[in-house]
């Protein structure tokens, strides 16, 4: 059962990412946690693909990484703007998602 260990690592990484997203205050760190979650998912994709002897998982991973890169670029641009506006990137200091 070698893949069980991969899945376990993936689960641990995802949980760490998720807890980080909820608990950390710095927007950049939250961002990094999100990347961590995405990579946890990537890891389980590759594991499953390897196990099933299929390339599908790998293709998904490439897609996810491409989208994550684009998202990171847009997200960082937003944070730069917010920093200019408020002088901070601590998420406690802005509740801009209010309707």
């Amino acid at each position: 059962m070698p893949q069980t260990l991969y899945y376990l690592l993936s689960a641990v990484l995802f949980t760490v990412g998720a807890v980080g997203v909820i608990t950390r205050r710095n927007a950049i760190v939250i961002f990094m946690c999100i990347e961590l979650m995405l990579n946890a998912v990537n890891l389980s994709f590759i594991t499953s693909g390897n196990f099933l002897n299929s390339l599908d998982g790998t293709i998904f991973v490439i897609f996810i990484m491409a989208v994550a890169a684009a998202e990171a670029a847009v997200g960082l641009a937003i944070f730069v703007l917010i920093f200019r506006l408020k002088g901070t990137v601590h998420v406690d200091d802005f509740n801009l998602l209010k309707g």
Partner: protein, 661 residues
């Protein structure tokens, strides 16, 4: 011929449509021609059918014509259909005949009124509705006409709507009639339900008649009583008579039309039409008779103490309608219809004559300001005299035959001296107040102001000719019903026999009574030959009472005009009571109007503002409370949302895993 029946109501409807829709640019003359000709045309059709009936055997004097299906629902089916038989042809002739005369008269009477065209539209609609009522072949179509005349009476009584009193009188007529119509409707529902339970779903008169025996006596009594409630409203009987005197606010030809030919006679016609139900319910018939007698007497006493000439006539109508109900209540439907017919002639005439007097007196209605008009308006004078004699029951004129027939029928059916006596006293009162009005108006010194005096003149021909025609009818109208006793053969009773059945007064078995009447009783018990002598004695009694009424009126108002003054001074309380109509209006106002206002206030304060508003505002407050709780979730902090998403994802995944395990 049956194909032509529907033309009778159709003509006035066409007249109404022409004047109402395209008549806006018509000159007055054209409007008048259209309106009058449409009613005259339906009179011509009625007369044609009548002549044709005369040549047929009595049993085959029925035409029916179904136009189309109206309401079809399951087993229940009602059609728009018309029926002409011996009863409805009389009504048609009276309605369209007297109606035509009133139309013609109105051309003169309303000549300077700005609402001339509107008036004739309403008038035509009124006649149309009344003809629908009498020619409809089922109860529902009758009800359409029934409501229609109610609507038209509202429109016409409130014709001069700028006047508060007129529009109020219109509303009063409408509302009081609604109360009666409520009873009528309940009667229709009960009838449909009861017959439907027996498997017969119909409201057509001919089918109802064939199936009336399926109703038990209890149901028949309830149904007929409910219908009678409708009749008390439409025909102004106790307790729903209060609207009729106020209906005087309308133009005089309207009063004449409502009082003589249409509307108020609807109740009598309805009972005669549904006679096959009423014979099943002797209790109802007794109620009808008693209500009729009380109304007749009660209204006659009020009539004696009124100064307004049209109000005297209004109470007289209420009283005479009471007579008709006594007739139908005694099971003598023919006698009731006979009186309806003669009454249409002389009461129509009286109202038109009153209108002519008003015309001459520049609109004055108070008898205290009249007098001495005899020389100045001779045609009105003589025609009024004929009408007064007819309504007072002077032998030889129409009112005598019909009224006497009713009194005799009431007596012979119920063997009650008191019924007859009350009727006869009412006849005396009628004679008294009619001649009180007559002498006050036409004899003695003229009490009008100089200016009014100067203007007094006879009405134009267009008004006086209908007066003369009606006067002739008032004289000869009674000869269709000369009783056997006086050597006649009572044509009208024979004529109506196919519809209302043969009326055989039960042989008198009784005890009590006194004087002339007890001899009548005694001789009546001896057999048929003696019955005629009883009838003769009662007739003579009634004639004497009637003439006495005229004599007293002459004594009071011609011979010694001080008597009334002294009488009023001496019996001041009684006079005030009667003059103010026994304060019935005030009583109704106190009990019903004020009571209903109070009830309305309770409903508004408690039900509306507390309960209904409470529920509505409560729902709103609850929703806004929930909202203010929920809005706290939307904090705007990214991490809050992320937490919610992850928490939700954990729950969903946990659920899925628990399913797999």
């Amino acid at each position: 011929m049956a194909d032509l029946i529907w033309l009778i109501p159709a003509f006035p409807a066409i007249g109404f449509l022409i004047n109402g829709l395209v008549g806006i640019r018509f000159p007055k003359t054209l409007t008048a021609w259209v309106a009058c000709l449409s009613v005259i045309a339906s009179f011509a059709v009625s007369a044609t059918i009548f002549v044709q009936f005369l040549q047929l055997a009595p049993e085959s004097r029925v035409f029916e014509k179904t136009v189309f299906d109206w309401i079809v629902s399951g087993d229940f089916k009602t059609q728009i259909g018309f029926r002409i038989d011996a009863l409805s042809i009389i009504m048609c002739l009276v309605v369209s005949g007297v109606g035509s005369l009133i139309h013609i008269y109105s051309v003169g009477y309303m000549h300077d009124d700005p609402g001339f065209r509107r008036f004739f539209c309403y008038l035509n609609l009124f006649v149309f509705m009344m003809l629908t009522l009498v020619t409809g072949d089922n109860v529902l179509l009758m009800f359409v006409g029934w409501e229609g005349v109610g609507l038209c009476s509202y429109l016409l009584i409130g014709f001069w709507y700028e006047k508060d009193s007129a529009s109020n009188a219109g509303k009063k007529a409408f509302i009081v009639n609604r109360i009666g119509d409520f009873g009528f409707l309940l009667g229709v529902f009960t009838l449909v339900g009861a017959l439907g339970a027996a498997g017969v779903w119909t409201l057509k008169f001919s089918e109802l008649q064939a199936n009336a025996h399926l109703l038990g006596p209890g149901l028949a009594t309830i149904i007929t009583l409910l219908f009678f409630v409708g009749a008390t409203g439409k025909s102004a009987q106790i307790p729903l008579y209060v609207w009729l005197p106020d209906a005087m606010e309308g133009p005089t030809p309207v009063s004449s039309l409502i009082h003589a030919a249409t509307m108020v006679t609807a109740g009598v016609y309805m009972i005669a039409r549904l006679n096959f139900l009423y014979v099943l319910a002797p209790t109802t018939l007794l109620v009808v008779t008693v209500v009729g007698l009380l109304t007749a007497f009660f209204a006659a006493t009020i009539g004696c103490a009124q100064y307004d000439i049209k109000r005297v006539l209004a109470y007289s109508t209420v009283s005479q309608l009471g007579y008709m109900f006594v007739g139908v209540g005694a099971g003598a439907y023919a006698a009731g219809i006979f009186h309806l017919m003669t009454h249409a002639f002389f009461k129509g005439l009286l109202f038109l004559a009153a209108g002519s007097v008003m015309h001459a007196m520049s609109g004055e209605l108070d008898m205290r300001k009249m007098g001495g008009l005899r020389k100045k308006i001779p045609i009105t004078y003589w025609t009024t005299l004929i009408a007064c004699l007819a309504i007072a029951g002077v032998p030889g004129l129409s009112g005598f035959f019909s009224k006497d027939e009713i009194l005799w029928m009431a007596f012979s059916r119920y063997h009650s001296f008191w019924f007859w006596a009350l009727g006869a006293v009412t006849a005396g009162l009628t004679a008294f107040y009619m001649f009180r009005m007559f002498f006050n108006t036409f004899h003695g010194e003229c009490r009008a102001s100089e200016e009014v005096k100067h203007h007094i003149h006879e009405s134009p021909k267009v008004m006086t000719i209908p007066l003369m025609v009606l006067a002739v009818l008032s004289i000869i109208g009674g000869y269709v019903g000369v009783p056997h006793l006086l050597g006649g053969s009572n044509h009208i009773e024979k004529w109506l026999e196919p519809v209302v059945g043969h009326h055989a007064p039960a042989a008198a078995t009784h005890s009590g009574g006194f004087g002339i009447v007890s001899t009548a009783f005694a001789s009546a018990a001896e057999g048929h030959g003696a019955e005629t002598s009883a009838e003769m004695q009662l007739m003579i009694g009634a004639i004497i009472i009637g003439l006495l009424g005229i004599f007293i009126a002459w004594l009071f108002y011609m011979k010694n005009p001080n008597i009334p003054k002294r009488f009023v001074e001496k019996f001041h309380g009684l006079f005030t009571l009667v003059h103010n109509k026994y304060f019935v209006d005030e009583l109704y106002g106190f009990i019903f109007v004020k009571g209903l206002f109070k009830l309305g206030k309770v409903c508004k304060d408690f039900f509306d503002e507390t309960i209904i508003d409470g529920i509505i505002n409560g729902i709103a407050a609850a929703l806004s409370g929930i909202g203010s709780l929920i809005r706290k979730i939307q904090s705007g902090f990214v991490q809050g949302y992320a937490f919610a998403i992850i928490f939700g994802a954990i729950i969903v995944i946990g659920y899925l895993i628990s399913r797999i395990l």
